[in-house]
């Protein structure tokens, strides 16, 4: 059975696209904090835990929310859905924040609410909690988005029947630079059952992942 990308989110340069359509762009936004707050407000996402998350958590949460809110992922058993994400800087953005709290012994205030986010896979945990995803999960680090690595890893999960639906992609934040590319992947048979939407599913492979992620660069 072949797998298809049936929805995707692309966030780059404070611009957000879902399934190839522009969803959010404001020229006057200069910081990641302003961007993510404005996007959260515009899309009327109501999830109080959002405010506790670090930047990587917020970006991953919103990117997944925009993509999954129109998907009936609950139709899959939770243990047959998975998340496989990757990025370049791991949790360095929050590592620097935690390090600031311990640099000065006279002003020493490490906090569990910051420290817990000094792992890149916490964003996977946030997405799993929100969507009840209980199957395979992995966080991989690569210098730049490696479509072959992600396609290979996720295709293998499908071929072992460990997942029937899988969220995968790239989620990167460092300071005010942010980039997200998340794709929802499912089997062909399941795609046929979904209602016709604005986005025509594309085959899930390294080539299509790369094309979708880099469409803004052309």
């Amino acid at each position: 059975m072949r797998q298809f990308i049936t929805a995707y989110t692309l966030i780059d340069g404070f611009k957000c696209m879902v399934n190839g359509r522009l969803l959010f762009y404001q020229e006057n936004i200069l910081t990641f904090a302003d961007f993510i707050k404005a996007l959260y407000k515009q899309e009327q996402v109501n999830y109080p835990k959002f405010y506790k998350m670090d930047a990587l958590g917020k970006l991953g949460f919103i990117a997944s929310e925009l993509l999954l809110r129109n998907k009936d992922i609950k139709s899959y058993p939770p243990e047959l859905t998975g998340v496989v994400l990757s990025n370049s800087s791991s949790s360095l953005d929050t590592d620097i924040a935690h390090n600031e709290t311990i640099r000065n012994r006279e002003h020493y205030f490490p906090s569990p609410s910051v420290f817990v986010y000094t792992l890149p896979n916490i964003v996977i945990g946030e997405i799993c909690i929100r969507n009840g995803i209980k199957g395979e999960n992995a966080f991989l680090v690569s210098e730049s988005f490696n479509s072959e690595l992600i396609a290979g890893y996720v295709t293998d999960l499908f071929s072992r029947e460990l997942v029937k639906g899988c969220l995968c992609g790239w989620i990167e934040v460092l300071g005010n630079r942010c980039e997200a590319f998340l794709a929802w992947v499912e089997n062909q048979a399941d795609v046929a059952e979904t209602k016709p939407g604005p986005f025509n599913p594309v085959p899930f492979d390294a080539e299509h992942l790369k094309l979708l992620k880099n469409q803004n660069d052309r």
């Binding site: 791991s90 420290f115 817990v116 945990g125 991989l140 690569s142 690595l149 293998d156």
Partner: protein
């Protein structure tokens, strides 16, 4: 759930492995220390690490320097030993032993290095290292590139950073690559150092025990941190000789989808990972001879793990946590604890769960209170971590 592709897939044989910890620089040295009931966790008074004395398991710095300098001297290209960070030295020393013993060819296009680490060169955030090492070394791919270049691996290393399941997940990933024929030989290496960054963080969680940790014990009061590196060589090639070989026969990950820093209340999700790993290996839980538990010695982890073991109907199986010997070694944990499990299989010996005296979880487990000889043919290793992640892997003699 079906596992229809299993029949056509290749076996994953376990070749050489290495452990570098407070208890020694080879797997053999570590096993001998464990047999002698040595505990590597010591109260450490180092103001550069923490303002107060804290129990830590540390690799002997002078011994590491000696070994690493010798490796650099033998290296074909000239390299300056002090141009490497502490973690790079640990990883290279560990991988070097495995490659050397197995005469493995890193240049082969079907050979891969998988790196498991939670924090990489995180100590480079400290002021004292800023002038010495490029900021770029904080990126895990740069750490991996340095290790890759040292040995000349042709393939870009795969890097797994998935909290405390990183090591087990790296082993599972390696076996999947081998089974599918993507690679024939994979070296899985993992490591993390003990750093001010991590100590302060766990201390803020009030998760650190004031004494060496006591997994599964009634009087446990949190975890101890340890630094370590480990490496395991996995291969699709059937080894020569007639003796039975250890294989990696199954593995899976799951997520609690419950809380980012607290484990599942039921243990159902870890149990699911265990069940899947057993199913792939084609064995029942009752056929297990040993469970190498995660056993961090925090109240919640050990309780959740006991529930998961019971849900998977494995509560009669001898179980231990190795963290009583060397603490929680983060990105190395899944690798070095698997290496001990493999040693148990090769030696047909089970080792006691250090720090355990009185049962401290609500489900009675068969916790190992002494070293003993036993037929050890099938073993399960489990792990759980922040972000709600769980992993289990099954090793089987064939």
């Amino acid at each position: 759930m079906g596992y229809r592709t299993q029949i056509t897939m290749k076996q994953t044989y376990i070749y050489e492995d290495n452990i570098i910890s407070s208890l020694g620089f080879t797997t053999l040295e570590n096993i001998e220390s464990i047999r002698a009931n040595a505990i590597g966790i010591r109260i450490t008074d180092d103001p550069l690490l923490y303002p107060r004395p804290v129990p830590l398991s540390k690799v002997d710095p002078a011994a590491l320097e000696t070994r690493f300098n010798a490796i650099c001297e033998q290296h074909k290209r000239s390299v300056a030993p002090d141009s490497f960070t502490r973690l790079e030295k640990l990883l290279i020393t560990s991988i070097r032993e495995v490659i050397h013993r197995d005469d493995l060819n890193p240049y082969h296009p079907k050979t891969l290095l998988i790196l498991s680490t939670t924090k990489g060169n995180i100590d480079l955030l400290e002021e004292r290292y800023k002038a010495k090492f490029n900021h770029k070394r904080l990126y895990l791919w740069e750490l991996a590139r340095i290790v890759q270049t040292f040995f000349g691996f042709v393939n870009t290393p795969v890097i797994i950073s998935n909290a405390c399941i990183s090591g087990v997940l790296a082993l599972i990933t390696a076996s999947r690559y081998i089974q599918s024929g993507t690679y024939d030989d994979v070296v899985v290496a993992g490591g993390d150092i003990v750093s001010e960054f991590v100590i302060a963080g766990f201390q803020s969680f009030q998760a650190l025990s004031p004494d060496p940790c006591k997994p599964f014990d009634q009087n446990r009061s949190g975890l101890s941190l340890g630094e370590a590196a480990g490496a395991i060589h996995l291969s699709s090639r059937k080894p020569v000789g007639n003796s039975r070989m250890v294989t990696l026969a199954g593995g899976a990950t799951t997520n609690d989808a419950n809380h980012i820093s607290g484990p599942s209340r039921t243990g159902q999700e870890l149990s699911l990972a265990m069940d899947r790993a057993l199913q792939q290996a084609g064995i029942d839980a009752s056929a297990l001879n040993y469970i190498a538990a995660h056993g961090t010695a925090t109240a919640y982890n050990d309780e959740m793990e006991a529930k998961a073991i019971a849900l998977s109907k494995a509560e009669q199986v001898p179980v231990s946590s190795q963290k009583g010997y060397w603490g929680h070694t983060l990105g190395a944990a899944g690798i070095i604890e698997s290496a001990v499990a493999v040693a148990s299989m090769r030696n047909n010996q089970l080792y006691r769960s250090a720090g355990f005296e009185t049962p401290g979880v609500t489900i009675p487990l068969n916790i190992l209170t002494e070293h003993r000889d036993a037929e050890v043919d099938q073993v399960l290793k489990s792990a759980s971590g922040f972000g709600g992640c769980n992993a289990a892997v099954v090793f089987k003699k064939i």
